[in-house]
């Protein structure tokens, strides 16, 4: 039998105004198990807490009921008080007689009657409370960052800076991501490579950071603090540790017609290649689809010219298992395919390009060495039309595009238009827009400069059709302000394609049990207050995998994700919520129902040996809850057909006791 103390708070007149606190204390004194009852003006004050502590000592209390404000307000306070008095903090229950009683009822008899009932329910529950201890689990002090773009790079650097080990897994042969492909960055027009490549070098040189390039995550097991991850290192047919990145092989390889994906297939590379000069790691990779040696055993040139002896045609995919305490997703974005938007003639003319392609065309390291030339004939385009919102802001039932605003297009289009006018003042530049969205710092000023100083012609309207006509592209569009349908003879049309999450994100989300929205962006634990955490504990979000973002926002979020990871890794042990599910193995019939309803994958089944009364042993399949993963929703307790599953702190018995107390 418990020895329960009841403490009724007045909360000044907040409670005492509508509830006769003395009567409540008196009435509850008669309840089974109650050995002490008191009332006080402010229970949460130091004096009030001292009163509780003294009573615990004096009356050898084993349980406490506080009739006060909402447990959402002061449950933690009173649990600490109990702990200070030597009681298990989970032996405290709160009867909410303020928010849910005195504040919503007007007269004293009603309020008092209800407060007594609420108090009785709490007493009934405490009678069945048992001391609970939060589970502890160790933390592997290493983080995994999936994706090596600017988001992943920044997160990794920040985590490493705090002294923790970080691994970056990047599916391409080099880190750098989309930012490495950009020319200049808005709104300051810094050269992207000038600000990105030093960070890439920092990553390469940081002792705490390992880079798994040309690699993918293939399996994730475990839970916060204790993830087991399998990483596939794809065969690059070059020994990373031996390759010096001298580039001799990439010059001598006879297979010259390999589409160069780094330049968006606007030029070619060799079958053995280093994506770009500042690649990290600066190691060659063989494209097995094009290499003659790998396809039919005839060639071997790269092996002959490699002074370091790094070429290895027999290399196989390698699987590595690693342990991590936290995982950061930084899988980034891609522009959507333009196949479904051929009214803009992307597949009909080489001179209709996407903005990312334009970025490569203006980049000094790009296919035209930075000269703005038409892909079709290498001539300088005299009239350029930019089309915004291609595939963004589409209706949900429209099968072609995306419902959301891609966010970055207005600004990069203004940048492209401005840079074109700056470098080639004789070029006529027109931008078709629906709305110009420039809410960032110095963004609108930037856009206005494009119009006012650089003379970019902005037209409110949309392009309906691009008609390839000999060397020209006839752009048929609306000018909504002039009330005209225009036909512009352009030399180059640039489409601001919507962006979408990388295709690798969906299978990764499944592996991580992290949730995604309908557009395959990762969802955050709370859209406002926990924007860099996934609802799955130990999984964090960085960059455009969570939603369209520009570089400053990505870097800010990357830092925020890193700080959350550091906060987690700084702990030696993780204390969980002790109110977790627990299976009674003697009652469990091994049906797996609970396993199926658990949203966290916290329940597993194992074959266990049981000693029978006749001393024989029996192996039975029973449920087992991982307390570190269980979040305590209790869904499994209801699903369990044999009643074996229960929730600590909210046991079926306790809730029924409350029901009974209320219905008495």
């Amino acid at each position: 039998m418990q020895r329960i103390g009841v403490f009724v708070c007045w909360c000044g007149t907040n409670i005492a105004g509508t509830v006769d606190v003395v009567a409540v204390a008196e009435a509850l004194k008669k309840e089974p198990g109650v050995v002490f009852s008191a009332n006080y003006q402010y229970m949460c004050s130091q004096a009030g807490q001292d009163l509780i502590k003294a009573a615990v000592k004096e009356h050898n209390l084993t349980g406490i009921v506080v009739c006060s404000c909402s447990p959402r307000m002061h449950e933690a306070t009173f649990r600490k008080t109990a702990a200070a008095a030597g009681l298990n903090p989970y032996m405290v229950e709160i009867a909410n007689i303020r928010e849910q009683c005195s504040w919503v009822h007007k007269d004293v008899p009603t309020g008092t009657e209800k407060a007594i009932i609420l108090g009785k329910a709490a007493v009934a529950k405490v009678n069945l409370n048992v001391p609970l201890t939060p589970g502890e689990s160790p933390v592997t002090k290493r983080a995994l960052v999936i994706g090596g773009g600017i988001a992943g790079i920044q997160t990794a650097l920040d985590i490493a800076d705090a002294g923790f080990e970080v691994d970056i897994v990047e599916k391409k042969p080099t880190i750098g991501g989309k930012m490495a492909q950009l020319d200049k960055t808005f709104p300051t027009l810094d050269c992207a490579a000038c600000i990105l490549t030093p960070k890439m070098v920092d990553v390469a040189q940081n002792e705490k950071i390992r880079i798994f390039s040309y690699s993918e995550v293939t399996e994730v097991k475990g839970f916060v603090g204790n993830f087991d991850v399998t990483i596939k290192k794809k065969a690059r047919y070059v020994k990373e540790e031996l390759c010096t990145g001298c580039g001799a092989c990439t010059e001598k390889c006879p297979m010259k017609k390999v589409p160069n994906d780094f330049n968006l297939n606007m030029d070619t590379k060799r079958a053995i290649y280093i994506p770009f000069a500042q690649a990290v790691p600066k190691v060659a990779t063989i494209d097995a689809d094009y290499c003659n040696m790998l396809k039919n055993g005839k060639c071997g040139v790269c092996s002959k010219v490699c002074a370091a002896g790094a070429i290895d045609y027999t290399q196989k995919d390698e699987f590595i298992s690693e342990k991590y305490g936290a995982i950061v997703v930084a899988t980034g974005f891609n522009p959507i395919s333009m196949d479904k938007f051929d009214e803009f003639a992307y597949n009909q003319s080489k001179d209709v390009i996407t903005s990312l392609e334009f970025e490569r065309l203006t980049n000094a390291a790009g296919p035209t060495a930075g000269k703005l030339l038409r892909p079709s004939d290498g001539k300088h385009p005299e009239k350029i039309v930019f089309v915004q919102c291609v595939g963004s802001r589409c209706d949900a039932c429209n099968e072609k595009g995306k419902e959301y605003c891609s966010k970055i297009c207005c600004m990069y289009t203004a940048k492209h238009a401005m840079l074109t006018r700056d470098k080639y003042p004789d070029t006529d530049v027109t931008v078709f827009y629906i709305d110009v969205r420039t809410p960032g710092k110095n963004f609108d000023e930037f856009y206005r400069r494009a119009v006012e100083e650089y003379g970019v012609h902005y037209i409110k309207g949309m392009v309906g059709k691009v008609i390839p006509d000999g060397e020209k592209l006839i752009v048929q569009a609306s000018d909504l302000i002039a009330g005209k349908q225009l036909k512009i003879d352009a030399d180059l049309v640039v489409l601001a394609a919507a962006i979408e999450p990388d295709k690798s994100a969906r299978p990764l989300a499944t592996m991580l049990t992290a949730s995604m929205d309908t557009n395959d962006f990762f969802t955050e634990a709370h859209p406002k207050l926990r924007p860099v955490e996934s609802p799955t504990a130990g999984v964090f979000l960085s960059g455009a995998c969570q939603g369209p973002k520009d570089i400053p926002e990505t870097v800010a979020q990357a830092g925020a994700a890193a700080s959350k990871v550091i906060g987690l890794l700084a702990k030696d042990k993780l204390t969980g919520n002790p109110c977790v599910a627990q299976s009674n193995e003697m009652m469990c019939n091994g049906c797996s129902t609970c396993e199926r309803v658990c949203p966290y994958g916290a329940i597993t089944y194992e074959d266990k040996e049981f000693r029978m009364p006749d001393r024989s042993t029996l192996i039975r399949r029973v449920a087992s809850v991982n307390p570190a993963v269980c979040q305590g929703c209790g869904c499994c307790t209801v699903a369990c057909p044999s009643g074996a599953m229960d929730l600590k702190g909210f046991a079926s018995e306790q809730i029924i006791a409350e029901v009974d107390a209320i219905c008495k």
Partner: protein, 130 residues
């Protein structure tokens, strides 16, 4: 909006099955319309004017009979507003009124020629006459 305007608006939305509120005013329909030069009110204006209840001018407009029903605006509209269906709804609202038939059987002989396919006459009748 007056009650009669509201009634007409609801009627048009019902006939067309289209929600003009979905429009984001990009003007792609008007950019794409092959009959633009012949129209007084253009596809995006049909959407906008129906949404704001300013429908009378549309009912009177020659533009109703210039739409080619080529579905280019339906195909290219990013918001699934499908302006051609609204144009059709207004045209029907106009010609369904007594005596408002655009084309009568008596007009046909003058328009016919040796090679004209039946399809042209049948279609025109469907579009211009009730």
């Amino acid at each position: 909006m007056s009650n009669s305007k509201k009634y007409l608006q609801e009627e048009l939305i019902r006939i067309s099955g289209v929600n003009p509120k979905k429009c984001m005013r990009c003007g792609k329909c008007t950019a794409t319309c092959p009959a633009y030069d012949e129209m007084e009110y253009h596809p995006h204006q049909f959407v906008y004017m129906i949404e704001s209840g300013d429908i009378e001018p549309l009912l009177e407009s020659e533009s109703l009979y210039k739409c080619l029903t080529c579905f280019a605006c339906v195909e290219r509209c990013p918001r699934s507003v499908e302006p051609a269906k609204l144009v059709e709804a207004v045209r029907l609202a106009a010609i369904r009124k007594q005596g408002n038939n655009r084309l009568t059987a008596n007009d046909i002989p003058a328009l016919l020629d040796e090679d004209m396919p039946q399809q042209a006459i049948v279609s025109a009748f469907r579009k211009y006459t009730k």
